[in-house]
């Protein structure tokens, strides 16, 4: 029991921080309730998916700078496909496309042995161009049923958007996490030589990790068009936001440590800080400064606490 608490101390801490911030929001704006929660969750959805995808890649010891561009490609593809086919086949095709794009990223890294950061930086531009080829200006359609999917709350105080991400993560990540593949992903991120010597197929594992990130990025793209109702070919601000949430969520940038829950909670923490500062009528320029300071402070505090924990 102690051990479970110890291993998940970071996630628990973030959860407490999130609850505290929700309390602060309620204090500043007494009207904040189910509706506020619902719109917060909805707005955070694309960020949450981008972050989940990034987290998998970072755990595997890489980084995917092209994640926002993959989201854009998937978003416009789905919006275009839905002009001529039903929502379900369009979504399935889009998810496959995301997996393929992620696998291409991973495959290039493994085959060329060029560092992850360089390959995915290059692919950032490639996918960006692809998105503009598919749709040169915002357009396409989104099935109304899909839009309804992420709106409202089936269960009181539990927004549907939250359920969407919970279901996706439990379908995409949990089976992997519980299988040997999940261990392999952690292993190659932790020490790829030791993983190789333990009999892990390092290259294949890396490709799969990037493929999974691609699927989650595709979900991010889909959730974005569900939010806006239109395909947008220019990538949004999801790259740096996802890296920030991954770090804040307790995933070590060197790989091998952390999970998906922490980063997703971190997304909500970062979103709600922004909400609070907006509600408190703080200068938007100051807002970003505060966000940056909080990130450094939390990660530093976490490092100090973990270090103490190891020592005692």
């Amino acid at each position: 029991m102690m051990r479970v608490a110890q291993n998940n101390a970071w996630v628990l801490g973030l959860l407490l921080l999130l609850l505290a911030l929700l309390g602060v929001t309620k204090l500043i704006q007494p009207g904040f309730g189910a509706t506020g929660l619902e719109s917060l969750a909805r707005a955070a959805l694309p960020f949450a998916f981008a972050t989940a995808g990034m987290a998998i890649v970072v755990i595997a010891g890489g980084i995917d700078l092209s994640i926002a561009s993959i989201m854009a490609v998937c978003g416009v593809t789905a919006a275009v496909l839905m002009q001529s086919m039903g929502a379900v086949p369009a979504v399935v095709l889009t998810l496959c496309l995301g997996a393929v794009m992620g696998a291409i990223n991973g495959g290039l890294i493994v085959l060329t042995r060029v560092p992850d950061i360089v390959v995915t930086l290059a692919m950032l531009f490639v996918w960006e161009g692809v998105a503009l080829l598919i749709l040169s200006s915002p357009g396409g359609v989104v099935a109304p049923g899909l839009r309804a999917l992420i709106t409202g709350s089936l269960v009181p105080y539990v927004p549907n958007a939250l359920l969407v991400i919970a279901v996706t993560i439990s379908l995409v990540w949990l089976p992997v996490r519980r299988a040997r593949l999940g261990l392999s992903i952690y292993a190659i991120g932790s020490d790829d030589l030791a993983a190789f010597r333990s009999g892990v197929n390092v290259g294949l594992t890396k490709v799969i990790a990037y493929g999974l990130a691609g699927v989650l990025a595709a979900m991010g793209g889909l959730s974005l068009i569900m939010l806006t109702g239109i395909g947008e070919p220019v990538p949004g601000p999801y790259l740096l936001a996802s890296v920030a949430a991954v770090v804040l969520g307790g995933v070590v940038l060197g790989g091998g440590r952390g999970g998906l829950l922490g980063p997703i909670i971190a997304v909500f923490v970062l979103r709600i800080i922004r909400t609070i500062l907006t509600l408190a009528a703080v200068d938007p320029n100051v807002t970003t400064i505060v966000e940056g300071v909080i990130m450094v402070a939390v990660v530093m505090l976490g490092a100090v606490v973990t270090y103490r924990g190891v020592r005692t």
Partner: protein, 496 residues
């Protein structure tokens, strides 16, 4: 060869492997029969590690064949080698630091119960499967590695320097278990620098030299000399030692080490280094010499014993402290010491601007004269002087040493400066080292090439298993004498 008319568990013949222009292995062979423990031996750079990597599937050979149980083995990865029955325990732990013990077992599909059995058998009590690997001490990790390999029930077990990081009680256990494995009909390949262990455990020894198997011998009393001879072979003569008179050691030594201890590798290192002297250090890989140099260079602190510099006690917490005390470290890895994109001239002049009070305008004339002198000494082709990275490895190393000619140095710590350098350049490096000593510097010179000792050094200390086992006059130190000492043979004789 020892035996010929039977099917070996593992039979490698004519294995060759090149890395670019470097031929690491030319014709390596090794046979292991059931029930046998075979020692694989060779001096540093003989090709042992490359051979191990090929046998375990981490590298593919250019040519040659590896038979396992008489079948041609296509081992393309450690996983395949494992399936075909060859299970290695590598020199460094190969467990994933961020996973716990149970997950590491799942990763390699290792059955848990046999693993637990072997861990207990090997003398580790109270191991919990939910311990993170990263939190466990090195010795425990080595045991876990071995237990994992044993649990896989290998046909052939390959142990690479398994006992290097282990305390003696665990070594005893390991040897007993490994012997038991052989008695059950498995084959074992045992790589170690320790003759005592080999004598206790092994049936025969296969000796590698310069990438080729030079023979296999049965282990019997007195075989050490023959193995040492085989490892050395006939060497190219590097030129006779210059007729030097060893300076008489007197006055306060520049460096005075007394019972230096660095847990876990170094237990007792004691020697004096005087001004004007080149003191050689001879040791096999991983006997604690790296740690001793780390302490002298200020990268880490000693855990016991005393270090005196010019008669005052010293303990360096940072490389800057060591440099301030006049100790200059030249690493074996040239890339770590040079600005690769800058010119030879700048690299040599660099120490002139290392101190903050030297950050003003360059004192051009004074500097240029000394730099010119150094460049002349270095005999570097001037056409390639624009960027250090365009120089050959040997010439780069000359720059790392030569810069101290221009700058002046009190105590120079050279760590294997001639590794991977051609014979001609080597011969230019020894006079550089000698000249530094004649200028009054004290030089500590670790080298993995034994034949260099009489050429560059006045005296030589031999480190084995973390302690100084011998201090010899360099002039009379032949390779055979040094090799025997480096393998701890003289010390054992004296003790027994």
């Amino acid at each position: 060869m020892v035996e010929t008319d039977q099917t070996y568990l593992l039979d490698a013949t004519g294995v060759a492997k090149s890395f670019g222009a470097v031929r690491a292995l030319t014709e390596a062979s090794l046979q292991v029969a059931a029930g046998q423990v075979v020692a694989l031996m060779g001096a540093n750079g003989a090709g042992k590690s490359t051979f191990v990597k090929i046998l375990t599937g981490a590298l593919r050979p250019d040519s040659g064949r590896v038979l396992i149980r008489g079948n041609v083995a296509r081992v393309g990865s450690p996983a395949e080698a494992r399936r075909s029955g060859v299970v290695p325990v590598y020199q460094e732990p190969s467990l994933i630091p961020d996973l716990d013990v149970a997950d590491n077992l799942r990763l390699g599909a290792t059955p848990v119960e046999p693993f637990r059995h072997w861990v207990a058998e090997l003398g580790i009590k109270a191991l919990r499967l939910d311990h993170m690997i990263g939190d466990l001490p090195l010795a425990t990790l080595r045991i876990l590695d071995l237990a994992r390999a044993l649990a896989a029930q290998p046909d052939v077990l390959l142990l690479d320097e398994m006992t290097a990081a282990l305390p003696t009680d665990l070594v005893e256990r390991v040897l007993k278990v490994v012997r038991g494995q052989a008695d059950e009909g498995r084959g074992v390949i045992y790589i170690s620098h320790r003759f005592t262990e080999i004598a206790e455990l092994c049936d025969s020894a296969t000796v590698l030299r310069d990438g080729r198997t030079v023979g296999a011998v049965k282990i019997e009393p007195g075989v050490e000399d023959r193995v040492v001879e085989m490892m050395l072979g006939a060497k190219l003569d590097l030129g006779a030692a210059a007729g030097r008179v060893a300076p008489i050691a007197q006055g306060i030594p520049r460096l005075r080490l007394r019972g230096l201890e660095i847990v876990p590798k170094v237990s007792d290192v004691t020697f004096d280094l005087h001004a004007g002297e080149v003191l050689g250090v001879v040791a096999l890989e991983g006997q604690g010499q790296d740690e001793v140099f780390d302490v002298l260079a200020g990268f880490r602190r000693a855990t016991g014993g005393t270090l005196e510099v010019d008669g005052t006690a010293a303990s360096f917490g940072h490389p800057a402290d060591a440099i301030a005390a006049g100790l200059t470290f030249v690493p074996g890895d040239r890339a770590a010491a040079l600005l690769r994109q800058r010119s030879v001239r700048e690299n040599i002049a660099l120490p002139f601007s290392a101190r903050i009070r030297d950050w003003g305008p360059l004192r051009a004339r004074h500097e240029r004269a000394r730099v010119n002198h150094a460049i002349e000494k270095l005999q570097i082709d001037t056409r390639a002087q624009g960027e250090v990275q365009r120089l050959s490895g040997g010439n780069q190393q000359k720059v790392t040493i030569g810069r101290w000619l221009a700058h002046g140095v009190r105590t120079l710590l050279l760590f294997d400066p001639t590794r991977g350098i051609d014979v001609r350049t080597k011969r230019q490096i020894y006079p550089l080292v000698r000249e530094l000593a004649e200028q009054g510097a004290a030089v500590l010179f670790y080298t993995s090439e034994l034949e260099e000792i009489p050429l560059a050094c006045d005296r030589v200390v031999v480190i084995f298993n973390g302690r100084v086992v011998d201090i010899l006059d360099a002039a009379g130190a032949t390779e055979a004498v040094l090799m025997r000492a480096a393998y701890g043979l003289t010390a054992e004789r004296a003790a027994s």
